[in-house]
């Protein structure tokens, strides 16, 4: 138990009368990259929002790095080392890419010290292929570039657990493998990831384990390779697809 | 940015160079906008008539007298800004101002600090006495007027009265002093309501006063406030009981005739014995006096011109000593004799009892 980085027990979340999460329990170990999957409306994003403190839970407990964070404010959770990104990251238009990246690590060299850009910023800019737009307004980036910037910024915060909400949606295919490389590297250096994602290729490439949600409950917790053979997973996706009018995933 | 400052400085020099400096110039800070705009306009008329009279008779020191008017907007800060312009840009010999005590006091204090002679043409709060050495009042203060009013009210057989006064230096002075005199003479003030000037309705205040069931309502109000208050009192049926106004001319002109039937009150006496001023006013403006204050502003201007003439220059220290000299000697204007006490305050002035007849005020002894 003590080795668990994140432990979620009996987590529930209701909006009014509708239960978006009913009874969700899972854990993430250091060094793992866990994919959180499920059809639209299965509660993935809500789970991420509750775990990161952006939404209050209805029931259940969340512990992170040995501390109960069930009711902690967002900044306290982040201080413990759990950092998240957004599905549709929106970026300021009166800050440059470099500034946003710099802001990822708070209190860099003292709260009221003048901003100084160390070499690590340039390294990150290179790694995420953002160097050529470093002086641009962050809001002027393309959707994919914004995603990369938000991941890079989150990495600057030195997280123990990085929670990514659909990191590849809108990101150019050629950049995806770079992203996989960066994340692998980060995990290899002692980090861990919880990734909400639709792209199965990306999941297979990156994840060490997958959790599948459907209608607020976990229906599978297995290796990425086992997903296709899991009848409940197939049914959940296909069922949704049929409801939606035959549009397969 | 530096360039911008330079441009601003240059244009400001240009702008300030505009007023002509040949004449003998004095300044007047008056409430030409805001609730007292009518009172301020009446003051301005009084000054204009005085200026015309003086210049017809050859001016001051052989030069025409010129008055620069500034609007206080009924705001102390703006009054001080205006005075600053008069003193440092226009270089006036002295400043006349203002109307309400709440503004006259800070204005006067600024002028005292600058060593500029200040003539108060209207404010009657007792606090005016403490403004400082270079400040002089051309009008008697409230301790005299409220005693007169308290006696008048009691003589009419009203023992329990509600008092309404505006929440400023003048109103507070009137309310406190009237209350003290009235109690001393054996009357009872049921409640004292201090209202904020410039409201769009006084219903709440009137209802508060009504609930104490007084024999009569004693109030003092500036122009537009008084008109509204009388209208609402009429609508609320409160004019079944008598209303008595302290310094009635402040709001008489702003109150339509239908809402002030039977209103009585008192004010400083401005007709005195000299009727030529009244005639001149009516000829110039086609109506009778709008308030008591044009006469005082008129006398203040005459007094100012006389002191500059005596001083032989517009040099401020010389003007100051001339004011003290003339004040001790006494100077007769249309409001009677102006004689100043050791504090530079007018010692005596006539009061009168007035009543409303149609739209006009007539004597009511």
């Amino acid at each position: 138990m003590t080795t668990e980085l994140l432990a979620v027990r009996g987590l529930a979340k209701a909006f009014g009368l509708s239960n978006v999460l009913e009874d969700v329990s899972f854990s993430v170990m250091p060094g793992e990259i866990v994919g959180l999957l499920g059809p639209n409306g299965s509660g993935k994003s809500t789970a991420l929002n509750v775990i990161s403190g952006f939404l209050p839970r209805s029931a259940g407990t969340i512990t992170f790095a040995g501390r109960d964070i069930s009711d902690a404010p967002v900044h306290a959770i982040t201080d413990l080392g759990l950092v998240r990104t957004f599905q549709l990251p929106s970026m300021p238009h009166r800050m440059t890419v470099r500034e946003v990246l710099k802001a990822g690590k708070r209190d860099d060299g003292g709260r009221f010290a003048p901003v100084a850009y160390g070499p690590e910023i340039d390294v990150l800019l290179q790694e995420f292929r953002l160097a050529h737009v470093a002086g641009h307004a962050a809001s002027a980036l393309s959707g994919g570039q914004k995603k990369l910037l938000s991941v890079a910024t989150a990495l600057r915060a030195n997280p123990k657990l990085l929670c990514l909400d659909e990191p590849t949606a809108g990101v150019h295919v050629s950049l995806r493998s770079d992203l996989v490389g960066v994340l692998r590297n980060y995990v290899a250096q002692g980090g861990a990831c919880l990734v909400v994602e639709h792209d199965m290729l990306f999941i297979r490439d990156l994840c060490t384990r997958c959790i599948v949600l459907d209608r607020g409950n976990i229906i599978a917790d297995c290796l990425p390779g086992e997903l296709e053979n899991n009848p409940r997973v197939v049914e959940a996706y296909l069922g949704k697809a049929i409801e939606k009018g035959g549009m397969a995933q | 940015m530096k360039k911008m400052i330079r441009v601003l400085a240059a244009t400001s020099v240009l702008a300030t160079a505009l007023p002509a400096q040949a004449d003998v110039v004095i300044g007047a800070v008056l409430p030409l906008s805001g609730v007292n705009a009518n009172g301020g306009e009446d003051q301005r008329r009084g000054i204009e008539l005085a200026v015309a009279q003086i210049n017809e008779a050859g001016g001051v020191l052989g030069e025409p007298l010129k008055v620069i008017y500034e609007d206080s907007g009924n705001v102390p800060q703006r009054a001080i800004d205006a005075a600053r312009k008069l003193v440092s840009v226009d270089g006036v010999a002295l400043v006349i101002g203002e109307y309400s005590s709440g503004i006259t006091i800070p204005l006067g204090q600024y002028l005292v600090a600058e060593g500029v002679p200040h003539l108060n043409p209207a404010s009657t709060s007792g606090l005016v006495r403490g403004i400082g050495a270079t400040s002089f009042s051309m009008v008697g203060l409230d301790n005299v007027s409220t005693e007169f009013a308290a006696k008048d009210v009691l003589d009419r057989g009203w023992k329990r009265v509600a008092v309404l006064a505006m929440n400023n230096a003048f109103g507070q002075g009137v309310a406190n002093e009237f209350g003290a005199h009235f109690a001393q003479l054996g009357g009872e003030v049921t409640t004292t309501i201090m209202y904020t000037s410039g409201q769009t309705t006084y219903r709440r205040e009137l209802q508060q006063a009504e609930s104490t069931e007084p024999d009569a309502y004693v109030f003092t109000a500036y122009g537009a406030d008084g008109g509204l208050m009388m209208q609402e009192a009429y609508e609320l049926g409160l004019q079944e009981d008598p209303w008595y106004s302290i310094l009635i001319t402040m709001h008489n002109a702003d109150t339509p005739a239908e809402f002030k039937t039977g209103l009585i009150g008192m004010d400083v006496d401005y007709t005195a014995d000299d009727t030529s001023y009244k005639a001149a006013y009516e000829e110039a403006y086609g109506q009778s006096f709008q308030s008591a204050w044009s006469g005082y502003a008129h006398d203040t201007t005459l007094f100012a011109a006389e002191t500059i003439e005596r001083a032989g220059s517009t040099d401020r220290p010389a003007v100051l000593s001339a004011i003290a000299e003339l004040g001790a000697e006494g100077f007769t204007g249309v409001t009677g004799e102006i004689k100043l006490d050791a504090d530079g305050q007018r010692m005596w002035q006539p009061y009168q009892k007035l009543k409303v007849e149609g739209d006009a005020l007539v004597s009511h002894e």
């Binding site: 929002n49 | 906008s33 409640t191 409201q199 769009t200 609402e232 609320l236 239908e258």
Partner: protein, 297 residues
């Protein structure tokens, strides 16, 4: 007690029309338009000016209201739509600035003194021991009638249905064939008309000065926010609450507490009562009344 109820209701009538207009327009254009209280003053002044030109009072007020409705549309198109593209907060600053410009216009055009319609004024008569004037009854009745008419429009007509659809989900409404621009324009027009009528009612009961808009601003906002901005008829409820708070604070006799017969709080504390109520609500129940932007994910 009866007096208290009457005072509260008449004060609520002062606030209700403008607050309803504010709330209605907020439901479609998401920023609090401060200039709306000035539209009320414009309505009153234009009505009076028309009456002085010899137009009988009823058409004068109606014409003035329609004119203000048009003005509201012009300002909305020329100023607010452009500012909203930047930020709702910018639009709020713009509306504050417009209010100042309008105040300056009133000062130049109408002077600083309070003005009134020339109507026959009679002293109050007593009903249930309470003094009531003819004009109070008349304008109070008219206020209720206008509110009912607006409610019928909102809940009983196809146009009202479209308005509600656009306010709940503009994208969906547009997709189902509602002309959102037309509906928005119409609501802006109506808000101007209602605010102007509110101003005219106020002027009929008493008088209107150029400061009226500024004095009404916060009580009207307090009423609209209490009722939930965007919920037009919540604003009526808000107006009653605010009016009750203001009336309570000025009608209470504190004399017995301090050992005198009659001591009242200065009536100028009345607005403080409504602002304090507003602040308290914002402080302790912000989410009960509106959705907070900050906590949205």
């Amino acid at each position: 007690m009866v007096q208290f109820i009457f005072d509260t209701l008449f004060r609520a009538a002062d606030l209700a029309l403008i607050a309803v207009a504010l709330s209605a327009v907020y439901s479609l254009i998401r920023f609090p338009n401060v200039a709306l209280v000035q539209y009320a003053v414009v309505g009153a002044f234009v009505g009076m000016a028309l009456q002085q030109q010899g137009v009988p009072i009823v058409p004068a007020v109606l014409l003035a209201s329609l004119l203000v409705g048009g003005i509201a549309q012009v300002f909305n198109a020329v100023i607010f739509q452009r500012l909203l593209r930047l930020d709702p907060a910018i639009a709020l600053i713009g509306s504050l600035a417009l209010s100042m410009v309008l105040s300056a216009g009133f000062l130049l055009g109408f002077g600083p003194a309070a003005q009134r319609f020339s109507v026959q004024v009679a002293p109050a008569t007593r009903v249930f021991g309470v003094r009531v004037t003819e004009m109070q009854v008349l304008t109070g009745g008219l206020t209720v009638a206008i509110l009912i008419a607006f409610a019928l429009l909102l809940f009983r007509t196809p146009l009202g249905r479209e308005m509600r659809a656009v306010s709940t989900n503009p994208v969906l409404a547009a997709a189902t064939g509602v002309n959102t621009a037309r509906v928005t324009g119409l609501v802006v027009f109506l808000s101007g008309v209602i605010a102007a009528l509110g101003g005219a009612m106020l002027a009929l009961r008493g008088s209107v000065s150029i400061d009226m808009g500024t004095n009404m601003l916060l009580p009207v906002f307090a009423a609209a926010i209490l009722g939930g901005l965007g919920n037009a008829f919540g604003a009526v409820f808000g107006a009653i609450v605010i009016a009750a708070a203001e009336t309570l604070i000025t009608n209470l006799n504190f004399g017995p507490i301090v050992g005198q017969d009659h001591v009242f709080l200065p009536a100028s504390y009345a607005p403080a009562a409504s602002f304090a109520l507003l602040v308290a609500v914002l402080l302790f129940r912000p989410r009960g009344i509106f959705v907070s932007e900050v906590t949205r994910v």
